[in-house]
């Protein structure tokens, strides 16, 4: 330590700290008043997520005031961060589900759709836990009779499934009950699942007793079944019907897959009879949220601040006969974006409609596989990870990593992205070359994708890249 003489003119440690501390106190007091007006840290550009502005539609039969944004519970967040590769990784993140449900209810969403088959059977339980924390009259819960497996076609088994749904959802009555995915398996399945075993009559009785408030069905596949059930409308008086509707399926359902029916037909048939439609697949399994770059650019040119997904949602909501549009909002960002779109809903202008029609025309040119990642085909008995293969393939096609010739200018980069990305997305033993074509999956697919054929096509492409033939 130097002597005091030396230190007399210099600051010294203590002095420095004193000044520093003093300044800190004074300046924080002085600046305390100067807080930026906008308290939201994120979303400064977009403003707060609107509260109390949700658009509602009313059902003609029961007078329910239903939010035009419905919450789909098929794509719940998992603890493993949604990379549900291993079987164990599919555990639902209940905390996140609770938070999302609370937020949705706070911002005006009151329709929640689930099924005993979703999320390997855990979706209803998760919804029950989340909703039972709120007063019963604040939400509408919708579930389905998902008796797909032949050993659940019996009357006893189907009724058991129905009672189990009530138990899992922790409710005494269901607001909306659906016959699940009629059309898959054609008229035979309809008879086996609902008609011959008297289940449809049972459900109608339940509606009379007040335990089901609205009875309807969801449709995928064979149009004969749809027409048949509609022909029974005078008898049954369907309260609503759930259909797949988006700007691709409106006119181009057959290009997406040949057994589908144009949404224009489906919607018109329902409107004719005054039956409200509940919309599923507004984003076609997420594909319409991730358009190829230049298509995305054109939409963004029109509305810079709106997400690509919002276009599809506004499209679906713009139809007056639509009761609610279901969205599987896995993440808070999805939920917030959808609330912005629907609170309140600004219907599409004619110009915007035309732009979407153009986009649809261009989309069908891309050789994408119309997989919506619904997992109905899983688990493949031979271990193939079908949705991930399609996901990787679709992503590569959309991102221009799908070289058709070695003379393409981005050939080596794209080839690497395709092959390395393939190994990253799908473990080698679960890739398309291991598909044996046993065809046990095809009849489960709601999009009627010819799964073994598509897998073989993708595998042939990957092989030609590996062998350097392309």
């Amino acid at each position: 330590m130097s002597d005091k003489n030396k230190n007399s003119n210099k600051l010294g440690r203590r002095g420095f700290l004193k000044i520093l501390g003093g300044t800190a106190v004074v300046s924080s007091a002085a600046f305390a008043g100067f807080k930026p007006k906008d308290k939201e840290r994120g979303g400064i550009a977009l403003g707060e997520v609107p509260k109390g502005k949700m658009t509602y539609r009313t059902t003609p039969t029961t007078g329910d005031k239903v939010s035009v944004l419905g919450y789909g519970f098929m794509r719940l967040p998992t603890i493993a961060g949604n990379s549900a590769r291993e079987n164990g990784g599919n555990e639902i993140d209940q905390e996140a589900v609770n938070a999302l449900t609370d937020y949705a209810l706070e911002h005006g969403v009151n329709y929640f759709d689930t099924s005993p088959a979703y999320c390997q059977g855990r979706s209803e339980g998760a919804l029950g836990i989340a909703l039972s924390r709120h007063p019963r009259d604040k939400y509408f819960v919708a579930t389905k009779l998902s008796n797909f497996a032949p050993n659940t076609w019996s009357r006893e088994a189907s009724i058991e499934m129905y009672h189990n749904s009530l138990k899992e959802l922790k409710v005494d009555y269901l607001d909306y009950m659906l016959l699940h995915a009629i059309g898959l398996g054609g008229m035979d399945a309809l008879h086996g699942r609902y008609l011959d075993n008297g289940i449809l009559d049972f459900l109608i009785e339940e509606r009379k007793a007040g335990r089901i408030r609205n009875l309807g069905f969801s449709y995928h596949g064979d149009i004969k079944v749809f027409d048949y059930l509609l022909s029974m409308h005078d008898e049954v008086k369907w309260d609503f019907v759930q259909i797949q509707l988006n700007y691709l399926d409106w006119n181009y359902a057959k290009e997406v897959n040949p057994t589908n029916t144009n949404a224009s037909y489906l919607y018109d048939e329902l409107e004719k009879r005054g039956i409200p439609s509940v919309i599923m697949e507004p984003l076609l399994g997420g594909r319409l949220a991730k358009l190829p770059d230049y298509l995305m650019g054109k939409l963004k040119q029109q509305r810079r601040d709106n997400s690509i997904a919002s276009w599809a949602f506004r499209y679906a909501g713009s139809f007056p006969g639509v009761l609610t549009v279901l969205s599987g909002m896995t993440y808070m960002e999805h939920l917030q974006d959808n609330i912005r779109t629907y609170a309140p809903l600004e219907p599409l202008s004619e110009k915007e409609n035309d732009l979407l029609e153009e986009t649809a025309k261009l989309m069908i040119e891309y050789p994408l596989v119309s997989c919506t990642g619904c997992q109905y085909c899983m688990p493949c008995p031979y271990g193939i990870d079908i949705p991930s293969i399609f996901l990787h393939y679709n992503r590569c096609v959309s991102e221009n990593n799908f070289p058709q010739s070695s003379q393409d200018e981005n050939y080596s980069r794209a080839r690497r992205a395709f092959l390395v990305g393939y190994d990253r997305t799908v473990p080698k033993l679960r890739q398309a070359d291991h598909c044996i074509g046993c065809d046990q999956c095809t009849h489960h697919c709601p999009q009627a994708i010819k799964i073994p054929a598509e897998l073989e096509r993708i595998d042939r492409y990957a092989e030609s890249l590996k062998q350097g033939v392309i």
Binding site: Y118, Q120, Y376, P379, Y382, G383, D423, I436, Q467
Partner: protein, 502 residues
């Protein structure tokens, strides 16, 4: 100056040859694959007279410069020795040549080679010993680092690195490699180039030639002050400071002595004077412990058959959606005749030429080649298809083999070389056990050698089973690899003793 040149060349060679074994992307082979091909023993095996002549010539000119610049095991020992020198300087001392040991080992080596005892040959040979050490012990570490980088790359959406499955192929070979590494490190730590001058057959052969080399280290007696520094820094322990003589059969031309001498009394000069080596013996321990752990890859465990049953449930009975079926590991089938890669021409030729260096094993991108654990063919590669199959467009093993065990084949030749043929095992086939339609083998056969036909000759039975056309099958193993039957494939490849064109 000389030492500097030698050191820099040595470092370059060591780094690149090590990379030849580590680099699983195969890119380094196109530029530096020749470094493996100029190794002495492999060129001898490959009857590459150009290289052999070249090596003999440079030995005749410069002495055993090969041992200090080209031989990777030698360079590795130099590295070890350098670390040891940092802890204790001037640690060497002159020792008499163990000529009896060297020539005995060389004799045994030649006998084993002629007799076809590939394992002994492969074990002793320096280049293949180095290759085994790198492939078994350093490669997993290298791949581990790579996988870490791949993980980071994935996060930043880069495809620069991709994951490589770390696979320790054989416990037996790993143990031998570890033992070799331990042995070499100990010998190099203690005596610098002990291995090179006692056991190494290449060293012994080159030592015979180097005695007559044109350039030699010569001690100028007039300038020498007999301080002995040169002898105390001679890795090969070949400088007798008292008598001012150098044993040229053991000198590896590392030039350390020249660097060390303060009087510039040693110089590397041309001349035709001959020096006679002194024949003396000295006992020395030779320790390379050999552990042959009896392990068979059939130790691969399978998880309970209960899971097998679960995975065989028909999709119609499933009630909920999602999830992934468990996939059991495939077991290696028992083949009556082993499979050797296209280019090796026959099993006899292969086992004779192969030096077990593991270069092809490291280079195989499809995890087909792995070291054998059979006694006679120990450490020589064999093929199996449970992890990948011998893809038609890949000729990597034939590109890298320096010993002529796998001769170079073009893609066209390879696709018509029959190394084995596929055999169908009825009782494993899922068409019959699971009642599903398959045909994956026929679908992926690159030779179009498999056809699906109705099982029932009357044609009414709709179950289709595969039939192999053995005149077209090339034994690539796509069928064995992609067959869904687990753990035992329903179709597998039997090897052929001699390869032919189909």
């Amino acid at each position: 100056m000389l030492k500097k040149i030698r050191t820099i060349s040595a470092i370059i060679f060591l780094a690149l040859i090590t990379l030849l074994f580590l680099d699983f992307t195969g890119t380094i082979h196109s530029w530096f694959g020749w470094m493996a091909k100029i190794q002495f023993f492999p060129s001898l095996l490959a009857l590459n007279f150009g290289i052999i002549t070249f090596l003999i010539l440079i030995t005749l000119l410069f002495g055993r410069i090969y041992c200090s610049v080209i031989c990777p095991l030698g360079l590795f020992q130099d590295g070890v020795s350098k670390v040891a020198s940092k802890r204790k300087k001037n640690r060497f001392f002159f020792s008499k040549a163990m000529t009896w040991l060297r020539y005995t080992v060389l004799g045994l080596f030649v006998i084993a080679f002629i007799g076809g005892f590939g394992s002994f040959v492969a074990f002793l040979e320096p280049y293949s010993a180095f290759g085994r050490i790198v492939s078994n012990i350093f490669a997993p570490v290298y791949q581990g680092v790579n996988n870490l980088l791949a993980l980071l790359a994935e996060r930043v959406d880069s495809y620069a690195f991709y994951e490589k499955e770390i696979w320790i192929r054989s416990v037996a070979t790993f143990s031998v490699a570890a033992a070799t590494l331990a042995g070499i490190v100990i010998l190099a730590w203690r005596g610098g180039r002990t291995y090179c001058n006692t056991l190494c057959p290449v060293g012994t052969i080159l030592g015979v030639i180097s005695q007559f080399s044109y350039f030699k280290h010569r001690i100028d007696v007039a300038k020498c002050n007999s301080c002995g520094l040169c002898a105390r820094n001679c890795k090969a322990s070949c400088i007798d400071a008292k008598s001012h003589t150098i044993d040229y059969s053991r000198c590896v031309s590392c030039f350390n002595c020249i660097e060390k001498c303060r009087k510039e009394a040693i110089r590397y000069t041309p001349g035709i004077r001959q020096e006679k080596p002194e024949l003396q013996t000295e006992p020395e321990k030779v320790m390379v412990s050999e552990e042959q752990v009896d392990s068979s890859r059939r130790k691969m465990l399978t998880i309970a058959g209960a899971v097998l049953a679960t995975s065989a449930i028909k999709a119609q009975e499933k009630k909920v959606d999602g999830g992934l079926a468990f996939i059991e590991d495939k077991k290696i089938p028992k083949r009556q005749t082993a499979l050797v890669p296209a280019g090796s021409q026959s099993i006899r030729n292969f086992t004779r030429q192969c030096t077990g260096c593991q270069l092809c094993v490291s280079a195989c991108p499809n995890n087909v080649l792995r070291p054998s654990t059979g006694l006679v063919t120990f450490m020589q590669p064999e093929m199996s298809y449970e992890r990948g199959y011998c893809r038609p467009e890949c000729t990597k093993c034939s590109e890298v083999c320096p010993a002529g065990a796998i001769t170079r084949v073009s893609v066209e030749d390879k696709s018509s070389t029959q190394i084995g043929h596929a055999v169908w095992i009825e009782k494993n086939c899922v068409v019959l056990t699971d009642g599903v339609s398959c045909g994956n083998c026929a679908r992926h056969c690159p030779a179009g050698a498999i056809v699906m036909i109705e099982k029932d000759p009357d044609g009414f039975d709709s179950a289709k089973i595969p039939v192999v056309n053995t005149e077209r099958c090339i034994g690539c193993g796509a069928c064995e690899n992609l067959c869904p039957a687990r753990p035992f494939s329903a179709i597998y490849v039997e090897g052929h003793n001699m390869h032919r064109t189909v």
